[in-house]
Symmetry: C2
Subunit: 193 residues, 2 copies
Amino acid sequence: MDRIEIVHNLRKYVALSDEQISIFFKNAEMVRLKKNQHLILQGDTESPLALIKSGCLMTYHTDADEHDHVIQFGRDMWWTADLQAFENNTPSQYSIKAMAPSVVYLLSKSTFETILTKASCFERYFRMIFQHSLVSHQKRIIRNISFTAEERYKAFKELYPDLEMIVPQKYIASFLGITPEFLSKTRKRLATT
Amino acid sequence: MDRIEIVHNLRKYVALSDEQISIFFKNAEMVRLKKNQHLILQGDTESPLALIKSGCLMTYHTDADEHDHVIQFGRDMWWTADLQAFENNTPSQYSIKAMAPSVVYLLSKSTFETILTKASCFERYFRMIFQHSLVSHQKRIIRNISFTAEERYKAFKELYPDLEMIVPQKYIASFLGITPEFLSKTRKRLATT
DNA sequence: CTTTAATATTGAACTATATTAAGAAATTCA
DNA sequence: TGAATTTCTTAATATAGTTCAATATTAAAG
């Protein structure tokens, strides 16, 4: 069980002692997910915070018409969660599933609070995690409101060059806010010019 | 100078002592903005974190073609900032201006760190602020990728019922990711049915 | 390996939204 | 207040993106 990247990531924003690091590992639950296995299904009442050690997770919302809408792809060392469900212990509005075999560390709301109580440095760590995440969410919003589908697709490929190999295109289309058919046509147009 | 709402807001997520509250006010700078006055202009190298006491602030990005794209409207008791510029002391990518006469409390990067050092409870406060902000950003992304323009406009009116009175429609159109002309048509269509 | 199911492509018809340009209405400011 | 500027509306035309349905391709499962 190689924890070196995790430790490195936990220390990215705060100088955590070995003891504080061990508090994290004592409380977090390591889980292996098979490809297409769900970590959370929309409606679940237990909704953890997840740190992806390896693999790829997709967070999506299923609407009343049974259509899926992709909120986020998570890769190595990213945190992912339905934060609202996590915070309020309400049924999850999102599903999270593994797009590739994945290893994740999970924190339930109560273990999360335990860690914060025992090692308050983690408040700063998560403050920084969420702050950085906000920056990328805002950038995505700008792309959504100001880019054409083709521009969004190009930006996606630059930001996540390896994701196209892992994730079915229909989910990339959803992430970009277009239909799979139109993504297919856009890709063709780009390839032949 | 009535600080009661601010104090109430600062205590929303953490039990702060009167002394900790006073650390905030000793370090924050109160600024009054006239309507249409900028708090930050894109390119500025000093980019504070701002807590809006009253009024309305708009955060937007101006692209290479000189087009503005609205990232956020901020109302009473909302925090707003160019977080990337704030964190890294890099030139701001966003402008922030007052859409109505406003009163804001400003924290520069260094006063922010001072407050966190002297009252580490604020780490938790800001962790919660950013966490909640992430939830609403994700919801907006879902609306962007899955709603039609009309649906986005209706959702906007429900979420921010009073903003239409304050903000020129062209900025609401930008926030929704459509042209002002199309918003005008959409409004007409909704009014006559 | 073979069959089945899931995903991707294609084209035609359709709809949502953008663009342009002009005039009308509302705001700002001298 | 009145002129100047900005914002909003309207309409015609153009384009981006959707829908549907059929076929091709790829991946999953026995």
